[in-house]
């Protein structure tokens, strides 16, 4: 995973709450077996509407999405994160993220920064009054800067550390492989195994 320290890019105000994963990427795009190339799928239903924010310059070149509360609710599809990244987003700001979406973002190097709703409102106004305003998301200091607005954001320490270091999760866990092996030896015998198959 690439290291993430700070990013500056055009902010995109998405004035909507409960942006669910079916809106971020509809299920029809989940049939693909690749991990990249999902940029066309991002918000595909909404992008058919010419007035949608990503169909307007300069927002179509945005890389920091500023959304309403409860962003990423619904399904566990990591494709939602891949689609945002493939489109060019590096960070999403919201006052509340769905847990699985936030977890998936952390695995993929997309920064899900939790910003107080009052600050989100200020940033929305700034971005709407001066389209094209750059937003800086600094993971080192956990702050967002947009025009004259400086706002703190929340992210859990462990995800922040992994993003800053660009570390691979599986590699980190496998450092503790002996613990896993030791645990496996203690599992009760009554627990089920899928193999061999026992059929009804």
């Amino acid at each position: 995973m690439e290291k993430f320290t700070t990013h500056t890019g055009i902010g995109v105000p998405l004035r909507q709450s409960n942006v669910d994963t079916d809106q971020i990427i509809p299920a029809v795009y989940l049939k693909r077996i690749t991990r990249t190339g999902f940029e066309d799928a991002l918000f595909s239903a909404w992008r058919k509407d010419p007035s949608f924010i990503l169909n307007q310059e300069p927002f179509n070149a945005g890389s920091v999405l500023v959304a309403g509360p409860d962003f990423g609710t619904g399904s566990s599809r990591e494709h939602a994160v891949w689609a945002l990244k493939d489109y060019g987003f590096k960070a999403v700001l919201s006052s509340r993220f769905a847990d699985i979406f936030r977890g998936n973002s952390g695995k993929q190097g997309l920064l899900a920064a939790q910003v107080a709703q009052d600050d989100i409102e200020l940033i929305w106004k700034e971005l709407e009054n001066a389209p094209g305003t750059q937003v800086t998301v600094d993971l080192t200091s956990k702050t967002v800067v947009c025009g004259n607005i400086v706002a703190p954001f929340e992210i859990d320490d462990y995800t922040r550390w992994r993003l800053l270091e660009g570390l691979d999760d599986i590699g980190l866990t496998l450092q503790h492989e002996s613990d896993i092996t030791a645990y496996e030896a203690t599992r009760p015998a009554f627990l089920p195994k899928t193999l061999p198959a026992r059929l009804s």
Partner: protein, 484 residues
């Protein structure tokens, strides 16, 4: 120290305790007892293993099935949609390469992953269960800690059989009282979500408690736990009891003989201690609950069926007001319209929420001897091939077909329309599934989430209806009070 059920299950699975506070403090590493796999969220994970030269650590704790893309008609023919066919074939290749047991289309154990696990007896109390699917919360009905994960975590579990998990908070959902006839588990969970909101459960493991929960069957408990994710929760659980054990006993992968006794002894410890405390308590009165239905585009936008479509002005919060305005526009609804005046085009009985035997029986009991509204199309999609076989053995297929409903093969189907079962633009559906998001069941489709008995009554009357709205059936078909 006194513990909640969730804390007990968590503590029993800690492979390596977290490092506590600090910038690079790793969270607890938990062992995963069962990994369920399907075709949509696994291909990139298998590919990741291959690229890194890693092995699948525990094929014997992994099981796969085909469900999201599978057609519910003509299942003996090649899948018409090429990308769907490729995705299914990719799963078959991956399972063969990594030695994973797979139940393919046509196999008697194929079906929705969350129906298959419990029906085989692989889901058991006290286990940790994960799947690259948010509705994994279903398995919490057995007192398992069951969570949906993304593809990166799927790969992590494949490689290590563990997950690093952040600590959770606990929420008790206390449902006391007795459900009235025609009111079901689905109505309980829709009412809970309307009460706490789609983000209300965020960061929490919910434990459903109280006399109304204890009175529910396993199928009904699965319906409730299934939709925990729609409240944003990390998981939902019900403590195991005699109902759980009776369901488990004799299932193919349930423990046998001395193992059964040892298991039951352990399972009996899986209850929240009397002096344990929850971070939050939520109470719901089962006695006064009515059939529930959604009017909007998230599962929290629901009301009692006897109420009317709310007005955006009813919401104090500006974001909720804007969301309601947008939802009414998308749904093509006017504020103030009685919910029961809303005419629907399609009724979908299926999905991991409501596609088990009890759901099919409850709907069949309503429609038996009655006529379908001629303008309604009704799809009945059993949750698994096994459920379909059992239903046919009871003659339920005939009840549905005589009524004029389509009796389909098992899969996720119209819950998310990854196969050809989709709504058209503007088509309105009463659906027993779990999500009423914009376009979820097909581009431009409009979804009202309902229980199986409301779905059945709606198919008869053509408008959103509860069983109590029906005229008596010619040959009296009693409404089951224990229905899912």
């Amino acid at each position: 120290m006194a513990k909640t059920l969730a804390e007990k299950v968590w503590d029993a699975h800690v492979v390596r305790k977290g490092d506590g506070e600090g910038a690079n403090a790793q969270p607890d590493l938990l062992f995963i007892d069962l990994h369920l796999v399907h075709e949509v969220t696994s291909p990139q994970a298998f590919e990741g293993l291959r690229l890194a030269g890693r092995k699948l650590r525990r094929a014997d704790l992994t099981i796969a099935t085909e469900d999201h893309n599978t057609p519910t008609l003509d299942i003996d023919k090649p899948i018409a949609d090429l990308t769907s066919r490729t995705q299914i074939q990719t799963l078959r290749n991956n399972c063969a390469e990594f030695g994973v047991r797979l139940h393919s289309l046509g196999d008697a154990e194929q079906g929705i992953v969350h129906v298959v696990g419990p029906q085989l007896g692989l889901t058991q109390p006290g286990m940790t269960v994960v799947c690259g699917d948010s509705h994994t919360s279903t398995h919490g009905a057995f007192g398992a800690l069951a969570m949906g994960i993304g593809t990166s975590e799927v790969e992590h579990v494949m490689a290590t059989q563990t997950l690093s998990l952040k600590p959770f908070k606990t929420m008790a959902i206390n449902v006391e009282g007795t459900l009235r006839p025609g009111v079901t588990a689905k109505d309980i969970i829709l009412a809970v979500i309307a009460k706490i909101g789609t983000g209300g459960g965020q960061g929490y493991v919910l434990e459903y408690r109280g006399s109304a929960i204890r009175a529910l069957s396993m199928d009904a408990r699965m319906t409730i736990c299934n939709m925990s994710i729609e409240a944003g929760a990390r998981a939902g659980m019900v403590a195991p009891d005699e109902t759980t054990y009776a369901y488990m006993k004799g299932r193919p992968h349930a423990p046998q003989g001395a193992d059964w006794d040892a298991a039951v002894e352990y399972w009996n410890t899986l209850r929240t201690d009397d002096d344990a405390t929850f971070d939050v308590q939520v109470d719901l009165d089962a006695n006064t609950l009515e059939p529930f239905v959604t009017w909007g585009t998230n599962p929290g936008q629901g009301v009692s069926l006897s109420e009317a479509v709310p007005s955006p002005e009813d919401f104090g919060d500006e974001n909720a007001k804007a969301a309601a305005e947008r939802a009414l526009q998308y749904m093509g609804l006017e504020a103030g319209t009685p919910m029961k005046d809303i005419r629907v085009d399609t009724v979908f009985l299926g999905s991991c929420t409501n596609s088990r035997m009890e759901d099919l029986r409850a709907a069949a009991d309503i429609i038996r001897g009655r006529q379908k509204d001629p303008n309604i199309r009704m799809l009945v999609v059993p949750g698994s091939a096994r459920v379909r076989l059992e239903a046919e053995a009871e003659g339920l297929d005939k009840v549905f077909k005589d009524f004029g409903a389509e009796w389909r093969f098992a899969g996720c189907s119209m819950c998310l329309g990854m196969n050809p079962d989709q709504l058209d633009v503007g088509e309105r559906c009463a659906s027993t599934s779990n999500r009423n998001f914009e376009g979820r069941q097909g581009k431009g489709g409009r979804t009202h989430l309902v229980s199986p008995v409301v779905a059945a009554a709606t198919a008869i009357r053509g408008t959103l209806s509860s069983p109590s709205d029906l005229d008596p059936a010619p040959e009296s078909a009693a409404i089951r009070t224990d229905a899912a």
